[in-house]
Amino acid sequence: MARMRMNQAIAAAIADEMRENPDVVVFGEDVAVAEGPFKTSDGLLAEFGPLRVRDTPIAEMGFMGAAVGAAATGLRPVTEIMFVEFLGVALDQLVTEAAKFSYLSGGVVKVPMVMRASVGAGLGFGCQHSQVMESWMVGAPGLKIVMISGPHNAYGLTRAAIRDDNPVAVLEPRILYAVRGDVTTGPEGIIPLGQAATPVSGDDITLVGCGSTVRTALGAAGDAEGWTADVIDLQTLQPWDTEAVLDSVRRTGRLAVVEECPYSGGWGADIVSTVVAEAFGDLSAPPIRITAPDVHVPFGKELEQRYLPNPEYVAGQVGELLATGESPPHWWERDGALV
């Protein structure tokens, strides 16, 4: 157990995997000499040298493709997409190549690569550097998607992702890099992919979060008056832990999914659609989604904070759901919201 910031936990996870397995290599823009734009590869170049830790040209398609080729021939590359939006120039390699190689080789070729990317709003980076963009990857069979929610699972999920024989996208909420927490290091700290965590248990509703919204959901549940919640951190978004969510919803009868993304196309819709199909009879209220609006991430500090769902808003929506048994309007649908 060690106390560290989330970016340190990521660097520690990579370093531990590199120590155990000489096939693990790291590359990306400014990840070597500068130790990562977000310091997530602190110390790696010094310890593992320039053969295994490399800076790349600004060429996401190029180095993502190189990761595919390296992984297909025996290495376990860990690459970094500095801001997830940059996948827009490289998505082909992840979704159309890496994720299909197992299938397209009759199961012979494995592509054990990790694509780490920083995601999310809250730091004033503007609308081309603040999104989560998991919708680009959800629905790509053959690809796993992990979303980090803090130092602890940053370590555990990153190690598991590197050990996985499939291509894994690891999405790291940028706003959490500087957050400190207790981390179980070493083999016991590894967190299996595909399993949700339930940091808080309760009775009245199931709050599902992933990535940055776990903190939001926990905040809402923590301050709640008059109700208690199961707070589920999906951890792995693809494949997500259907059992954990269904078990909880069957007990609580209510579901709220908290997402950082715009309402349209968000991952929560998948959760809701599966839950209504599988547990309709157990529902005592409509499952709701608490998301950002269908707009670009604005720049100004207050606007950006308004854009993101926060604990008070989540608590308010849940309270209203419990009180009325109906889906409450989103904040932007309420009278006077826009003045």
């Binding site: 004033g124 503007g126 081309q128 720049f299 100004g300 606007l303 826009l338």
Partner: protein, 327 residues
């Protein structure tokens, strides 16, 4: 605003002294911007262009307001060279309604189509094919406008660079591709990412002219862009110009550039584009020695006033988040 902006644009087009003043203005604002961030008055990040002012002003001086410019996140200098006011630039950086797009974009996102500036690009390389598209408009409509893509040395390794220039070449579009080689892509020196010394040599891959230009000499930049623009307007197709320049500050807000070799900055600073050009104007008799300090003092005052105006301006309201999503 717009007539002010156009007058500022016209000034750098017609008057070398105005070019000098604009370079001073850019430097002054950029220094102030770094200060604002250092003081914690702005959130987010910023990419300033101290040291590269001759490129910005040299390019703008050779273009018409009806030409189109696709520029990067390192765009404050270019925007001002094209005519944007310190108020608009700083307003956007600080996220106020007086900003270029009303304060919802931030430092990386400036735009003013009255001077030909499309929304600046925060994605490396993205502006290269977009400029080809703007040049296509000119070609289809039979105007003699040109489109300019400004990008960094690091951007020369991304696919969009290759695809955009190739497309412009095969269609003989009136475009000018201008690489501002400031020696670094983020924290990486160009030699670690690019296996050749001159990006301009990549012109050979597309059968178009490529030229290395002294990016610290505003006259040289102006001349090279004038020539490329003339070629493009005459229907002879695109060119690739490489401006050798240097970024005085770090890559962005938080970068102190610890990776720079000892002495490198000093060497470039000796050929500071503003000092050099000032001295030349003095030698040519276009400026008096005393003008140099007077200009600096005046512009410093103007920039301070603009910043004060920004500080007093409102932030955009919640409604702005929902505006301009769809046309």
């Amino acid at each position: 605003m717009s007539s002010d902006v156009l007058a500022r644009r016209e000034a750098v087009r017609s008057d070398r002294t105005a070019r000098y003043e604009r370079m001073v203005e850019i430097r002054t604002l950029e220094d102030a911007v770094r200060g604002l961030f250092a003081e914690g008055l702005v959130h987010g990040t910023t990419h300033t262009c101290q040291g590269q002012e001759a490129v910005a002003v040299g390019v703008a001086s050779a273009l018409r307001p009806t030409d189109t410019v696709c520029c990067t996140y390192r765009g404050h200098g270019h925007a001002m060279a094209l005519g944007m006011t310190p108020l608009q630039v700083c307003g956007e950086i600080m996220g106020r309604v007086v900003g270029s797009i009303g304060g919802v974009g931030g430092s990386m996102h400036l735009c003013d189509t009255s001077i030909g500036l499309l929304p600046t690009f925060a994605i490396v390389g993205a502006g290269v094919p977009v400029a080809a598209g703007a040049a296509l408009t000119a070609q289809v409509r039979g105007t003699d406008d040109v489109a300019v893509s400004l990008f960094g040395d690091g951007a020369a390794n991304i696919g969009a660079f290759h695809e955009g220039i190739n497309l412009a070449a095969i269609w003989k579009l009136p475009a000018i591709f201008i690489c501002e080689n400031n020696q670094y892509g983020e924290y990486s020196p160009i030699a670690t990412t690019t296996p050749i010394a001159n990006i301009a040599d990549r012109a050979g891959s597309y059968g178009i002219p490529g030229e290395v230009v002294d990016g610290q000499d505003v006259d040289a930049v102006n001349a090279a862009v004038e020539a490329a623009a003339a070629r493009a307007r005459a229907g002879d197709g695109p060119s690739l110009l490489e401006m050798k320049t240097y970024r005085y500050a770090g890559h962005s807000r938080s970068d102190t550039a610890p990776y720079r070799p000892e002495g490198e900055f000093d060497e470039w600073y000796e050929r500071d584009p503003i000092a050099t050009f000032g001295a030349r104007l003095v030698a040519e008799g276009l400026l008096a020695e005393s003008d140099v300090d007077a200009i600096a003092a005046r512009i410093s005052g103007e920039v301070d006033a603009a910043i004060d105006e920004v500080k007093a301006a409102a932030s955009p309201g919640v409604a702005s988040m929902f505006e301009n999503i769809l046309a």
